[in-house]
């Protein structure tokens, strides 16, 4: 069984590779490559897979899930400039895929218990673009 919790964070970023010139960056990243940065209202949906505990009837306590999402994602990333303020985006280009992978890394260790596991991270950069890591 899957349980999915949604969280939002608003953050700015840009996507540029230092080894490429302006034109090459534009070809690869388009509007995302403007070095001044721009922002999105990111929405992340985190799915945890497991079986309900026979006593509590819950896979995972939603309060606990919310606290973990707040601590690992929302607090460090909300209203931040990802390239300058959030590790590892000083050296890793914060594409939607790389942000989703970083969220997966941060959460995976929190959900590596016997009864449930992290099943999927879905990160919406906009309503028309999202990345799944599973």
């Amino acid at each position: 069984m899957l349980i999915t919790r949604r969280a939002e964070f608003s953050a700015s970023h840009f996507c540029r590779a230092a080894s490429l010139n302006d034109h090459e960056n534009w070809e690869l990243f388009g509007e995302e490559s403007h070095s001044g940065g721009h922002g999105h209202n990111f929405v992340v949906e985190v799915s945890v897979e497991g079986e309900p505990d026979p006593i509590t009837g819950m896979i995972v306590d939603l309060k606990e899930l919310k606290d973990i999402l707040d601590r690992e994602i929302v607090t460090p990333m909300d209203h931040r400039f990802l390239n300058y303020e959030v590790e590892p985006f000083g050296r890793v280009i914060p594409t939607t895929a790389n942000i989703a992978l970083e969220i997966w890394r941060r959460l995976e260790r929190r959900f590596s218990v016997a009864r449930y596991r992290l099943a999927r991270v879905r990160l919406f950069e906009t309503a028309d673009l999202y990345v799944d890591v599973d």
Binding site: F14, C15, R16, A17, A18, S19, N25, E27, L28, F29, G30, S35, N83, P88, R91, V92, I93, P94, T95, T96, A97, N98, A100, L101, A127, D128, L129, Y130, V131, D132, V133, D134
Partner: protein
């Protein structure tokens, strides 16, 4: 596994009418959708692309390339068109959204390799909403792709 899903929008008109059925049968089966003059929808099309993440750029595919493909091979055919009259595949095929999805699936199968053969990426899912209430989804088989944690760690490049 990692995948990216991009959503596109296109308005188009159609009329559901099967040449294999009589007028009354068509009217009964398709109801309002059998209106002789046709009618239109704002369709939503989602393509899910999965495969090998390019470690240097952190991209599965540059979005401009994906958008260019969808525009030239799919949206260019359907957007602001009368599907029955303007899209050759529907000369005799009834443009139900199931059939629109099938035709789009065929276009992807036909043109994807020549457009993205240089990347290890594949379309794993195509989804269409005819309206917010009616959705149609097709899952396509893809080769197994390993984005191992070692490969994931390679997705590091110092940005400007």
């Amino acid at each position: 596994m990692i995948s990216i899903t991009r959503r596109y929008h296109f308005p188009a008109s159609h009329r559901l009418h099967s040449p294999l059925l009589s007028e009354p049968e068509n009217a009964r089966l398709y109801g309002k959708c059998n209106n002789p003059f046709g009618h239109g929808h704002d369709y939503t099309l989602e393509l899910t692309v999965t495969g090998q993440l390019d470690g240097a750029s952190g991209l599965l595919v540059p979005l401009s390339r994906l958008d260019g493909f969808v525009q030239s091979k799919i949206l260019g055919l359907f957007a602001y068109r009368n599907i029955n009259i303007d899209v050759p595949q529907f000369a005799i095929l009834v443009p139900t959204t199931e059939n629109v999805l099938r035709v789009i699936g065929e276009l992807v199968r036909q043109y994807w390799p020549e457009s993205f053969g240089d990347l290890k990426i594949y379309v794993s899912r195509i989804q269409i909403q005819e309206t917010e209430r009616n959705g149609f989804e097709m899952v396509l088989p893809v080769p197994e792709i390993k984005n191992s944690s070692a490969e994931r760690n390679e997705s590091v490049m110092v940005h400007a």
